[in-house]
Symmetry: C2
Subunit: 307 residues, 2 copies
């Protein structure tokens, strides 16, 4: 496939061309709209402009620690009005995968979670009981002779492990999760592949690095549900009835966001440089990741250049 | 290389042939001599027999959580008299690597440890200061704005990360270790590659799975010091002045112990089935691991078959 040279959104005509090319905009959140608790400049204005122009905005995040409901609250805290059906998180897409692909029975089959609250919340909305996750007994130091998750035996109703980022990950959680993964009939789902998690100017371990540890110990490979996996895109496209050629993925990572858009056959991609990528990376031809169709220093440049 | 078909030690003649073939016996410990706190049958008698015959016994363990001094105590708790110079642990071989290969300066350069007490103890014996490891402040939940290991800045004297098994591994330890690994001038040493750790009839996550998580998040590959890495064998051979052809590695894992012996050019290997391997695995021809020269249901069969 021949890629065109990435166009930088740096003046009125490139910003206008970008807006005119698409009806639907899929946004990654952290690193694109905000950095942690700080909204990036002109994000609100850009989203308002899209709304005024009748464009559809969809928010696609690999963060599994929050549910879609919790994400709505986060948008509201910035004064941005977003409804739950505009949000697709890897916690939600993992739950969709459990329901639609693995076809686990609600109220019968259970899920063991190695991850934060978002996963359990999304599963609960679909009627699934989960165990593990944020259970405070897992915060205790691990002791094989005392762990309530071992001495009472594994729960035979568990049919799936869902693993994601967990800032409370510890040996207790890893050890019990591994017991479930040693049962070949238990499915292994990873929320997202990101090996790192940028926060407050640091790079911390991401979901992918924790899941990798479980994969190494169990000798198994998970099914990943977040970007760039196309399960996520399929869920979005079918529930929103998107026309691919009129849709654009906006993100800050080449190997998840931009790959997600390119491999999904979307009409376009926009890389913003407010996250982990640089202009050099955006422009380089590299077999490891695709190039974006557009790039910009920040998302707000779309709005600013039109003023 | 043509391998001969593995010989099972199951009668007097095979046991006698095995003993006659070697002067030096290198033993893995857990899964070979004991399982956790339980000494395996006829181990003490086998070791006494070797001593009576003037054979040399050396103990080679990938367990980095204990120092050699702590291992001597463990032997003593079973009534077995072993001196520190008979023991080679991955904590010790990692410290030897830091001293002899990386040539870090004692009293000047420091080591960040992601692992248990054995590593710090062996480094301290060589004059190295270490930080991290068992520091109880790392047991606290991680908070990027409060961690004393972040808010006071990284220690610029740290020149090396040594990572190994840590039953208190948590996000705090992983996150800070990753900060040091993001400095290209900081070396990355892994004690051992074992992805699992058998204990009390369970299979728990091993050093390799934790180190893998750090490798994934940092995009770096560690230098491994334990079996089957030949750094460990070089240390043993040179300090004990071993004749390779008259030396035999005894272990319970094909891909660490037996590989270690085969790749190191030892005269022979003995696989015991008291650990994680089966007779089928011992006999199968498989590109993933070498076959042992001898195998036995348990180490004590060497003694028992001679009675």
């Amino acid at each position: 496939m021949t890629e065109s040279y990435p166009v930088k959104i740096s003046n009125k005509s490139t910003a206008q061309e970008f807006l005119d090319s698409f009806d639907n905009f899929l946004f990654d959140c952290d690193g694109v709209l905000w950095l942690g608790k700080h909204l990036l400049p002109y994000v609100k204005e850009t989203l308002s402009l899209l709304e005024k122009l009748g464009k559809q905005a969809i928010f696609v995040t690999n963060n599994s620690t929050k549910s879609r409901a919790a994400y709505c609250k986060k948008f509201a805290s910035f004064g941005i009005d977003v409804t739950q059906d505009q949000i697709f998180s890897s916690s939600y897409s993992s739950a969709v995968y459990v329901r639609d692909f693995l076809k686990l029975k609600p109220g019968v089959d259970k899920v063991w979670i190695c991850g934060e609250a978002g996963i359990a919340e999304e599963l609960a909305l679909m009627g699934y009981d989960s165990i593990g996750g944020t259970d405070p007994r897992l915060d205790e130091p691990f002791d094989a002779e005392r762990s309530p998750f071992l001495i009472n035996g594994l729960d035979p109703a568990v049919r799936c492990v869902v693993a994601g980022l967990d800032s409370k990950i510890n040996y207790h959680r890893l050890a019990i999760t591994l017991q479930y993964l040693q049962k070949p009939e238990v499915h292994f789902v990873g929320t997202n592949v990101d090996s790192t998690y940028p926060q407050k100017g640091y790079i911390f371990p991401g979901a992918g690095s924790v899941i990798n540890s479980l994969a190494c110990a169990s000798g198994r490979e998970p099914i990943y549900c977040g970007k760039p996996n196309q399960n996520m895109l399929n869920t979005i496209v079918s529930s929103k009835n998107l026309q691919l050629s009129k849709s654009c993925m906006v993100g800050d990572r080449l190997n998840t966001d931009i790959r997600f858009g390119v491999e999904g056959g979307l009409g376009g991609t926009l890389l913003v440089l407010t996250g982990i990528e640089t202009e050099d990376r955006a422009l380089e031809e590299n077999a490891e990741h695709p190039r974006p169709k557009y790039y910009a220093e920040k998302l707000g440049d779309v709005y600013e250049n039109l003023q």
